[in-house]
């Protein structure tokens, strides 16, 4: 309490002293998706500002690359975005192939595409489950994990690993697709459409869900582009930008699919965009199953990889956004420098702008909707 006197008014008014509090969210918190720490400046429950503190999961992935051969480094990238490890591997392998001037054979490219799209579905399913959990809907998580399990089984049958798959190899594929591969993928895809409908009945028109997500964490297309935000977050703001269409890689130029975009750039639109993306990924898988070409799965790259001196940047559309690899070669067997552009980190930068003026409960929803993975943010 403090008294202030306004000169001339003759009235002494009493002002309630209300201090802002700093709330430390994380690094140990149920819904910061790992070890993210957000310092929130609160006025009551209203957020006046936020600051992300990252680095709790820093493993020096980029530095490690400088002391491994190109082949040796490949498994490390799986540990960045461990929810969609396949995408990481695809980006790295293609970047090195670009550096070598080699190309994966057509069969390898199609199988890569199928696995990557399955990985995208798995990633989005995990996002949906945890995002719903953050907003208080407990049940969708288990339905989502049920379907994700099917995808992980396909991965396991293909390469023996479920999470950090290391499914690809520079120049093509490590393994030939197993016998029932097409059948498994097809069975999953046929069933999956119905499953997505099921999630939508739980959430899409639920008044509480709409109330919790509509108008929350709005980011305009202009701001999103200015901040370098990519992936579903950018598309939900109405920007039709998808590297699979804009700069096709793997075998994406062979398949028909559309890019879902939102209008308002709020949490609800991001939810809708990702739901539609799962359907599109399913379509791509179904198309790809039909036309897997025959032929070798590994191109001619040689046993010891020695790219000519030079540099390369290769970006792919990972489930979270643009995942880029910038590799500098000095002509030896080890990269001179590897720089990774993690979509989660760049998207996370928009957090402060998105949470200002919202309540604490919305911060959780917004962190969820950005779909960050701390393994990738901190590397």
């Amino acid at each position: 309490m403090g008294s202030t006197y306004k000169p001339g008014s003759g009235v002494e008014t009493t002002v309630l002293g209300a201090d802002e509090i700093i709330l430390n969210m994380g690094p140990q918190h149920p819904s910061t998706h790992g070890v993210l720490r957000v310092k929130l400046k609160l006025d009551g429950e209203k957020v006046k500002g936020s600051e992300c503190v990252i680095g709790y999961l820093h493993r020096g992935v980029e530095k490690i690359a400088e002391h491994r051969t190109y082949t040796q480094f490949a498994p490390y990238v799986d540990r960045m975005d461990y929810i969609a490890a396949v995408s990481n591997g695809l980006g790295y392998c293609e970047a090195v192939e670009k550096l070598l001037g080699a190309e994966a054979p057509p069969r390898a490219r199609v199988i890569r595409t199928i696995l990557t799209e399955l990985g995208r579905i798995a990633s989005h399913l995990f996002w949906l489950g945890t995002h719903a959990l953050d907003i208080g809907a407990l049940t969708p998580l288990f339905y989502c994990l049920r379907e994700r399990e099917e995808i992980l089984k396909i991965f396991e049958n293909y390469c023996g690993a479920r999470l950090t798959t290391h499914a690809f190899r520079i120049g093509g594929l490590q393994y030939e697709a197993y016998d029932a591969f097409e059948k498994d993928v097809e069975r999953f895809c046929n069933d999956f459409d119905r499953r997505v409908d099921e999630y939508e009945t739980l959430l899409t028109e639920n008044r509480i869900w709409v109330g919790r997500t509509k108008g929350i964490g709005v980011i305009s297309a202009k701001d999103a582009i200015a901040m370098g935000v990519t992936g579903p977050v950018l598309r939900a703001s109405g920007v039709e930008w998808d590297l699979r269409k804009a700069m096709p890689y793997a075998a994406y130029d062979q398949f028909e699919f559309s890019i879902p975009t939102g209008k308002n750039g709020d949490t609800y639109d991001r939810y809708l965009v990702r739901m539609e993306e799962m359907r599109q990924s399913r379509n791509i898988c179904l198309q790809a199953i039909e036309k897997i070409p025959t032929g070798p799965i590994l191109g001619k790259v040689g046993k010891v990889l020695k790219p000519p001196p030079g540099e390369v940047y290769h970006g792919i559309e990972a489930p979270k956004g643009e995942l880029g690899y910038y590799i500098v070669s000095d002509g030896t067997t080890q990269p001179y420098r590897v720089r990774i552009r993690p979509p989660s980190l760049i998207n996370l930068e928009a957090l402060d702008q998105m949470v200002r003026g919202h309540l604490v409960a919305d911060v959780v929803a917004i962190i969820g909707t950005l779909d960050i993975v701390l393994g990738e943010v901190d590397r």
């Binding site: 288990f142 509480i208 929350i216």
Partner: protein
Amino acid sequence: MDLNAILHWPYLVPIICALVIVLVLPLVAGYIVLVERKVMADMQVRLGPMRVGPHGLLQPIADAVKLLLKEDIIPESADRWIFWGAPLISVTAAMLALSAVPIGPAFLIAPGLNIGILFILGVGALGIFGIVLGGWASNSHYSLLGALRSAAQLVSYETSAGMAVVGALLLAGTLSTTAIIDRQAQDGVWFIFAAPVGFFIYLVASIAETNRAPFDMPEAESELVAGYMTEYSGFRWALYFLAEYTNMIVVASIATILFLGGGLRPFSGTAQLDFLDYLPAALMLGIGGYCFYRAPKQPVGVQKGFMGVVGLLCFGLAALLALPVIAPAGSILAAMEPGLHGAFWFLAKVATYLYVFMWLRFTFPRYRFDQLMRLGWQFLLPVAMANVIGIAVAVALHRPIANGGLGWPWWVAFPLTTALTILVAWYLVWVGEKEEPTEIKVGEEEETPVNA
């Protein structure tokens, strides 16, 4: 003092009832948690607790032992004594409220209490002190936010719940819990059918009052970690848990008394449906039989035995429920029927009400705090008020002409006013839809670095 004097001591039955409540309630609360976990698991395509005892039947015991053995941490910066005492306030208030709840006509701690409902509401509301003080004494931001939310939420929804209760009281014309049930037996209709809107309002408000999802703001696991309970551990934490589940039983009891006819059998006034008296026994028999059917399939010998014991227990209960019905009229056994069957039906209704709680919890996302407040004040309270007016009008219309009413039949007066109340509710929703959602300004706040 001879035996006869002890047996006729007026406080004997209340004391026994109170002891039963205090001793059995923690166990019951533990098993409600187990049931909740099982229901949740069923809805989420998994099995739930399966390890301790057959189908996890001993899980609550294991949990209680674990909680008792855990270290009781009092944070250094906490206000020791308030921190120590706050959970006790919550538990005491919740348990005290149960003293006016008649679990069947025979089991009641305070039989002569003529302000029963008022007492339950008043004492039950004291529990909020435990939450607010606990949140304050923890000296943690999360706890404080949880406590603040809890206080605001309880005050907001207590009003709506109170209004819904008033509606039922208008129908009953009394505050005594037993008299309210008698009135429903007399009228031959449970008040839920006379005042469905009132029941709905009470259902929503009672979920909010007990801080259950989708209104579990004060705990909000994914936002405030555990809200006011964040700093609590061990048995002090368990006390809060006990208080929460006791509160759930209390609100379910209020709803059962006011709207669902307390310990009355469905169609208690219809003699043609008297075969329903066999239903409780048949149900127990069925459960017991199922236990014996499952027993040989248990993996371990101990579990087989335990399953058998559970089956026997169910058969025992079946016998207990069946004998008074079969026994000749006038015998002591037959005299026990109202008490036993009343308790069965009362508990069955409470259980159903709690199941709805759980069902909602696993289906809906969580409301945001301001949305919760808007729902409470801008929708629920106006509808509750319209409901009170509607019921008052209906009661006047229904009252016999000799008593100054209009003598309209029951099935005209009440549906009419209910329809009008629903119209009001619909209008409120419509107005709410038309209202432009508050624009959220983003990025316009002054740039203030957090570290400043």
